[in-house]
């Protein structure tokens, strides 16, 4: 084979390409991530208002209508404009480079899927400025409260919300078609299923869930929009509709959506623990396959969100069993990560700290998850702060920490610069302490009987709410070192080599940042399993030559 050459004289692409309809997956990936973090700040600001209101029992900081709008938009922004886009950004950066593809299977579709995000983002934000204010019925948008439309206008905050969610669904389906096709069809020669990195396994699992589940949510949302603006009564009991039907449509997607979020984070843990323990992933095949067992089970647990909604006893019991079963493949993964760490050579870099913190939080969330799966306990704590605590441990404690780990780990690859370790560790410390201070007190509150979504509460709940609010403000502060780090290291950080972490993977056999078409015509042939740390086996044919060429190009670059 011929080796790829890395011409150092290639003109540096202009930064303005990030604001164009660019079809390079690496540009789209960064577009997704940067936009997502813009909305992370918006959603975080809303969270600060929520915790400001809840630091005292009375509804005194904002009007109750404003509180309801703000908590609704906090959840919506964080899910549809932060978590999903940031993960799609990572998918765009990592899937093609990890499997040795030049780009995604459908680059234009990929760009369309991205550009729908700012469109529905603007639509959603505009709802703050329509008469009557934004949607206020929570991110579940349960009818009939979501179709009450107090002002009776055709254009309402709720209507804009539903349109935005439907558009988000369309964008995600486009993305999912692309990711699934790319992973199935465009892997490097020699990369059979069981030589594929676990991140790609989990991305494939998560995106398959999107394809199966999203039509249900999108269809359900469109019917709700019809009830709201066209006078239909799919869900309106006054016209013979059934409000509980909506809950089935909603949760049939929105529970699997949690796995869409957490599966790629499992992928990130599975990639990073081996790198920073200098050991192969323990039980690679089991970890990979467990992702698809989670997909299968994840599709048949949605009624656990509806135990007190008026579902029959047999359904409660059935869905309790399926929900409990999910603990098994999830446990397989957790034990595999522990097995990877065991007797490793642990390096506490910033990405590793975020992974360890994320794993700690995730196991805690797993324990409360089992409690929530148990019908009699769930009856007591459902729709209380116990649930809010549980899912913030999952989404923030585990998923967001995993996302931060991924960003620090792959930052050098895609920007060509090293992030600063000191700032990164400060960021980790503030995030880990802030998250636990914020979300742990929610569990006693829920057990005591404080409902979620309240703008005021009885004085007995004050103590834990004050602690939670202080934790939230600490989390608010924690983004400062992160943003400082990202901006300053991207602009003037030290140059990154092609493999600063000494990691194994196709993406680390590309220059940092990679050329537009990645390996181009010179895709290496994969000859072994991923994570061959300590085995001495090469990952690809001619690995030594490829690495020597990369190092030589870096030395030339440094000399100029």
């Amino acid at each position: 084979m011929t080796l790829a050459t890395f011409p150092a004289s290639e003109p540096k692409p202009s930064w303005t390409r990030y604001f164009t309809f660019n079809t390079d997956a690496k540009v789209i990936g960064i577009q997704y991530i940067v936009l997502a973090f813009f909305f992370f700040l918006v959603g975080g600001l809303l969270a600060m208002i929520i915790r400001g209101e809840l630091i005292t029992p009375e509804a005194d900081l904002v009007d109750r209508t404003v509180y309801n709008g703000i908590y609704t938009m906090h959840g919506t922004v964080m899910l549809f404009l932060f978590v999903f886009p940031v993960l799609n950004g990572l998918n765009n950066l990592l899937i093609p480079t990890m499997i040795g593809a030049p780009d995604m299977a459908f680059p234009r579709l990929n760009a369309v899927a991205f550009w729908l995000v700012p469109i529905f983002g603007v639509l959603l934000m505009s709802s703050f400025f329509v008469p009557g204010g934004p949607a206020y019925s929570g991110w579940w948008s349960y009818p009939p409260v979501s179709i009450q439309n107090p002002l009776g206008h055709l254009v309402s905050g709720q209507g804009l919300w539903l349109t935005a969610v439907a558009l988000s669904g369309v964008s995600s389906i486009m993305g999912a078609v692309n990711f699934v096709t790319t992973i199935i069809r465009m892997r490097a020669p020699g990369m059979g299923w069981f030589r594929m990195p676990v991140f790609c396994w989990t991305a494939l699992a998560a995106q398959s869930l999107q394809l199966i589940g999203l039509p249900s949510l999108t269809g359900g949302a469109i019917m709700l929009l019809m009830d709201l603006v066209a006078g239909t009564s799919f869900y309106d009991p006054a016209g013979g509709g059934d409000p509980v039907l909506y809950q089935h449509f909603f949760w049939f997607y929105s529970h699997p959506a949690v796995y869409v979020i957490i599966l790629p984070v499992f992928g990130i843990f599975s990639e990073l623990f081996p790198v920073y323990s200098r050991k192969p992933l323990f039980g690679y095949v089991y970890v990979a396959v467990a992702s698809f067992i989670i997909v299968g089970l994840g599709l048949v647990v949605w009624v656990h969100h509806m135990f007190p909604s008026g579902v029959p006893e047999w359904m409660r019991n059935l869905f309790m069993f399926t929900t409990m079963l999910i603990a098994v493949p999830t446990g397989v993964k957790v034990f595999a990560w522990l097995g990877t760490l065991w007797r490793g050579k642990i390096r506490l870099t910033t990405p590793m700290l975020f992974c360890l913190g994320g794993l700690f939080n995730f196991v805690f969330a797993g324990v409360t998850g089992i409690m929530l799966a148990t019908v009699p306990i769930d009856i007591h704590v459902s729709n209380t702060y116990f649930v809010v605590g549980h899912f913030h441990y999952v989404i923030y404690g585990a998923a967001v920490l995993g996302i931060f780990a991924a960003i620090y780990h792959w930052f050098p690859k895609f920007t060509g610069r090293m992030p600063y370790e000191g700032l990164g560790k400060v960021h980790f410390l503030l995030t880990f302490v802030g998250a636990n201070l914020n979300f742990l007190p929610m569990h006693p509150l829920g057990l005591m009987g404080m409902p979620r979504r309240v703008s005021s509460y009885d004085p007995e709940f004050t103590f834990w709410n004050v602690i939670a609010s202080l934790g939230a403000f600490l989390l608010g502060v924690s983004v400062i070192p992160f943003l400082l780090n990202m901006v300053s290291s991207w602009v003037r950080g030290p140059r990154a080599t092609h493999n600063p972490w000494n990691a194994i993977g196709l993406e680390w056999l590309l220059p940092s940042p990679p050329a537009e078409d990645n390996f181009g015509e010179h895709v290496p042939v994969v000859v072994s399993r991923p994570y061959g740390y300590g085995s001495g086996e090469p990952l690809v044919e001619h690995q030594a030559e490829i690495e020597a060429a990369l190092t030589q190009a870096e030395q030339l670059e440094a000399a100029r």
């Binding site: 904002v62 009007d63 109750r64 209508t65 404003v66 309801n68 709008g69 008469p131 009557g132 206020y136 019925s137 349960y142 009939p144 409260v145 107090p150 905050g157 009991p237 409000p243 509980v244 050991k279 323990f282 039980g283 007190p308 909604s309 006893e313 019991n317 309790m320 409990m324 098994v328 446990g331 397989v332 034990f335 595999a336 522990l338 097995g339 760490l341 065991w342 007797r343 050579k345 506490l348 360890l356 794993l359 196991v363 089992i370 409690m371 148990t374 019908v375 009699p376 009856i379 007591h380 729709n383 005591m448 009987g449 409902p451 979504r453 309240v454 509460y457 009885d458 007995e460 300590g534």
Partner: protein, 314 residues
């Protein structure tokens, strides 16, 4: 998992003893946490409460053991298996262990299934004490009947949830109130209705919760077991004054309850408690404008408004 599992056959007698001691310590901690768990919950004021709390205590103990085990391994690794400062080498490549995979698949499987079976039994018992819900589509109120668990006839109370007030009607005594009065140890059957949106009836001290669904009348049974004053909260988001949609629940002796019903029947109808109506009226004069809201339903006309500001039992 325990540290020795990944270690394979190489362990000394000393490490076995140390490990056994550590596991014993974790067990003690877990049992203690299971006992503590009762203190995190409100007082037990219904027949359901001890059953739910027992299950919660058990799961807290199991959860503490699992969490403690995982965190122990992480802590051990962080203390003992750190790379030396200038050590760039890789660790010994252990790819996996099928026997371990089988063990840590089978043990959680058995464990969660055991929890599920325990929980299902609690469900069944709760059902015998008073079925959690029967769903009717606008059928007439069923005859008062006993339940297998306790042979007393159930008191009938009609619960009407509104945006944003709770109204309790006692058809037998011709009484309406915005404070719920129940006799201790007397089974009660609620008939839950809503004319506007979803609500949820939630009395934390009773450990019960049920959505109130417009278009359906849901029968819902419980038996209070402790005299006192408790809180009933709306648990399914119902709009602007959702947080203020609360009522007090007074559990009293059978004699006191009869006396209350008789006194209440002699009271003239008056406006019941509705914090929403009060705040809505103030809002008209306020300059601090919020976003749009549907107006609250007028306060229900009741014999006894009661109170929702008296101190209640945690």
């Amino acid at each position: 998992m325990t540290p020795s599992q990944a270690q394979g056959p190489r362990f000394s007698p000393l490490s076995v003893v140390a490990l056994a001691a550590w596991v014993a310590l974790l067990v003690v901690l877990s049992v203690w946490m299971g006992q503590q768990a009762y203190r995190w919950l409100p007082v037990q004021a219904s027949t359901a409460a001890p059953l739910v709390d027992g299950l919660f205590s058990f799961e807290t103990a199991v959860g503490t053991f699992v969490f403690g085990g995982v965190v122990s391994v992480m802590a051990w690794v962080l203390l003992m298996h750190r790379a030396d400062k200038y050590d760039e080498s890789d660790a010994e490549p252990i790819e996996g262990n099928t026997r371990l995979e089988v063990i840590w698949t089978a043990i959680p499987l058995v464990l969660v299934m055991a929890i599920a079976v325990y929980a299902m039994r609690v469900n069944t018992t709760l059902g015998m004490l008073g079925p959690m819900e029967h769903i009717h589509l606008r059928s007439p109120v069923e005859d008062a009947g006993g339940y297998p668990g306790d042979r007393l006839p159930a008191e009938q109370v009609e619960v009407i949830a509104r945006q944003w007030s709770w109204e309790f009607r006692y058809p037998g005594a011709d009484v309406a109130a915005t404070e719920l009065h129940l006799a201790v140890n007397q089974p009660v059957t609620f008939r839950l209705v809503s004319d506007d949106v979803l609500h949820g009836i939630y009395i934390p001290a009773f450990r019960v919760k049920q959505d109130v669904i417009p278009g359906r009348a849901i029968d819902f049974n419980l038996t209070p077991t402790r005299e006192g004053r408790y809180r009933l909260r709306d648990s399914q988001f119902s709009g602007t004054w959702f947080a203020a949609n609360q009522a007090d629940v007074v559990v009293e002796s059978a004699a006191d309850h009869q006396a209350w019903l008789q006194a209440a029947a002699r009271q003239p109808l008056q406006s019941g408690i509705s914090d929403a109506s009060r705040e809505f009226a103030q809002r008209g004069q306020s300059t601090k404008a919020g976003w749009a809201t549907v107006p609250p339903a007028p306060p229900p006309q009741v014999n006894v408004p009661g109170s929702n500001t008296l101190p209640h039992d945690g």
